[in-house]
Symmetry: C2
Subunit: 332 residues, 2 copies
C-alpha cells in the first residue's frame, strides 16, 4: 500500500481522543445554557464534515437544529438564530474568510460559538467561545461525535454515550484497518475513473455530504476530474436519464437510516450501466467498535475508504493532490 502510515493514522486519531474530557466539558457548558438552536455553518468540505451531525441531531432527538453555508448566512442571515443559539464551525486553517465573517455574524447575534480548528492561535479560535484544536488530529469528525454525543447524553437522548465514547478510543485503529481492506478496490477504481469524461456520484442522508464534497473537493479540485453529484432520492428526478452502459456511476451506501434510498439507486443503476461502482460501509470490519454504533459512523468509515482512492490516484495520474491552478492563488 502506497502513502500509508499505520502508526500515524492511529496517533492522529488519538490526538483528538485524548481531548475527550475537554470536549465533554464543552458539551456540559452548552447544556447549561437554555439553547434554542444548534446551528452548523462553514464552507465547502468543512461544511460537509459538519452536516452529518445536523442530520444525527434531527434524526435522533427533538433538539432544534439547522445548517447554512457561511456565505449564504452572511448575506441573508438565519432568522432562527438568536442570542440563545449554539453555533458550530470548523476550519482547518482557522482563517477561512467566509467562516470568520460568519463567526462575527454569530457573535453579533450574541450566540455561543464552538469551533474545531486545525491551527492553534488562529483568528477562528480567537473568535470562538470554546475551541478544540486538532492540529494533525484526524478524523476531525471525532470531535463532533464526542461533542454532539455528550450533548445528547446530557439530555437523556443517547444513554449509551459513555460506552460509545470508550469505543471511539479504537476509532483510529479501526479506520486504519478499513483503509487496508479498501485499498485494492480503490486502486482499481482510481485506475479507471481518472480516464472517465464524466463521473456521477450518488449518496444520501449522512453520506450525501461525502458524495458532494469528495467529488468536488478531491476529484474536481485536486485532480481536475469532471463530476456531477446528486443525492440518492434526487437521482430519480433527472440524472437517471443520463445512464447508458458506459456512464460511470459511483454510489456510496450508508449504514444510516437512508440506506434504502441508496439501495434503490443501486438496483436501478446496475441494470443500466456497466460502470457502476458501489462503496458500501457495510463491507468493512471495524475492529474494536461495537456493531450497534456502526450506523452512526458511515461518514468516517467512507472517508477512510475514499482516502485510498486519493492516495492511489495521485500516483496513477502523476498529479499531486496538492497542485492547484487557482484555489487560494491570488484574489477572486
Amino acid at each position: 500500500m502506497i502513502n500509508f502510515n499505520e502508526s500515524q493514522i492511529i496517533e492522529n486519531a488519538y490526538y483528538i481522543y485524548k481531548q475527550r474530557s475537554k470536549i465533554e466539558a464543552i458539551a456540559d457548558q452548552i447544556c447549561k445554557r437554555d439553547f434554542d438552536l444548534l446551528f452548523f455553518t462553514s464552507s465547502g468540505g468543512s461544511m460537509s464534515m459538519l452536516l452529518p451531525f445536523n442530520f444525527w441531531l434531527n434524526y435522533s432527538s427533538g433538539l432544534p437544529t439547522a445548517a447554512m453555508l457561511s456565505a449564504d448566512l452572511l448575506i441573508t442571515g438565519c432568522n432562527l438564530l438568536t442570542k440563545n443559539s449554539i453555533v458550530f464551525m470548523t476550519s482547518k486553517s482557522g482563517d477561512t474568510q467566509e467562516t470568520l465573517e460568519a463567526a462575527q455574524y454569530a457573535k453579533n447575534k450574541g450566540a455561543f460559538i464552538v469551533s474545531a480548528v486545525g491551527a492553534a492561535d488562529s483568528p477562528l479560535e480567537a473568535a470562538s467561545d470554546a475551541a478544540v484544536i486538532y492540529d494533525a488530529g484526524r478524523p476531525q469528525e471525532l470531535i463532533f461525535y464526542l461533542l454532539i454525543g455528550k450533548i445528547l447524553y446530557n439530555r437523556g437522548l443517547f444513554p449509551v454515550y459513555p460506552d460509545f465514547a470508550d469505543n471511539m478510543k479504537n476509532l483510529g485503529a479501526a479506520l486504519m484497518n478499513v483503509r487496508k481492506q479498501a485499498d485494492e478496490k480503490c486502486r482499481q477504481y482510481a485506475l479507471s475513473c481518472h480516464k472517465e469524461p464524466y463521473n456521477i456520484w450518488v449518496g444520501s442522508g449522512d453520506l450525501w455530504p461525502t458524495a458532494y464534497s469528495y467529488s468536488m473537493c478531491v476529484l474536481e479540485e485536486s485532480q481536475w476530474i469532471r463530476t456531477k453529484s446528486v443525492s440518492s432520492p434526487e437521482f430519480f428526478h433527472g440524472t437517471l436519464e443520463l445512464l447508458e452502459k458506459d456512464v460511470c456511476v459511483t454510489l456510496l451506501l450508508t449504514e444510516g437510516p437512508t440506506r434504502p434510498l441508496d439501495e434503490r439507486v443501486k438496483h436501478f443503476a446496475a441494470k443500466h450501466t456497466n460502470k457502476l461502482t458501489c462503496f458500501d460501509t457495510r463491507d468493512y470490519l471495524l475492529p474494536g467498535i461495537k456493531d450497534e454504533y456502526r450506523p452512526l459512523l458511515s461518514p468516517v468509515v467512507m472517508a477512510a475508504v475514499l482516502q485510498r482512492i486519493s492516495k492511489n490516484i495521485e500516483v496513477i495520474t502523476g498529479h499531486s493532490l496538492d497542485i492547484r491552478r487557482y484555489y487560494r492563488k491570488g484574489e477572486y
Copy 2:
C-alpha cells in the same frame, strides 16, 4: 420564434391570478393559526420551485421557516415540525408518491397542509387542508408570491403587498415579453451547449434552485446532456479548478440579495474560460411591473428566459422534451 404562443402565456398566468382572493383567504386562514414553522417539502423540480419562498421568508422576516426533500423527511423526519406547523407542498400530477407520503407524515403530525396542485381531484388535493389547483396555469410560483406575500403582509412585514399583488396581474405579459427579449440569445446558446461534453451551471440564493433544477430536470432529464450544478459560493471550494479555456460555464445572475456571489463567479470565470454564458435577470425589461419588485422575481424571470433554451433546443437536437428512457417508466 418557435413554439411560442403569446396569448396562451398571458392566459395561463391569468388563470392563477384570478384565484388571488382564494389564495389570500388561505393566507388569512394560516395567519389565524399560531404557527411555529412554515415548512416547504416536495421533490425534484417541484422542490426547487418552492425553495425561493423559504429563502424570501428567512431573508425578509423573523417567521420560522425550513425546507426538506420529501424523501428525506419520510425517513428522518423533521424535528422542528409540530401540530402547529404549516406545510407547503406542490406537485403537477398531484400523485407523486414521495410527496403524498410526506403529506401523510405531516398529517400524522397534525400540521396544516397547503398545496399547489396541477390536477384537480388528485390524491394530493384530498390530503391537503387547503389547495390551489393550477391546471395549465403558469408560472406556479405566482401562487406562492400571493400566498407568502399575503402572510408577510398580515404580519406587518410586507406593507406594499396590495400593490405588489396588483402588479402580479401583469406578470404573464411581462414574462411573455421576457421570452421575446431572451429568445435569440437562448437559441444561440442551445446551438452550442448541446454539443458540449460537460456543462457547469452556477447560481446562488433564490436562483440556486433554478441552476440545480434546470440543469438536472431539463438538460439531463429531457435532453440527456451532462451537467454539474454548483452554487456560486461553493464554486470556489472545488469546481473552479476545472476551468480551462474550452470548459462550458453557465452562470445565472439574480437580482436578489446574493447577487454579489454571482458577480464574483462572473469575474473569475470570464478570465479562465472562453465559454462563459451569463443569463442575468437584470437584462430583461418587465413591462407593467415596478422596479422595486424585481429583486423578488428573479426565479420567474429566469424560468421564462431558460424556457427559451428548452423550446429551441428540442428543435435543434430533434429530441423532444417529452422523451424519457426511464423516468416514470416501470418500477424503480
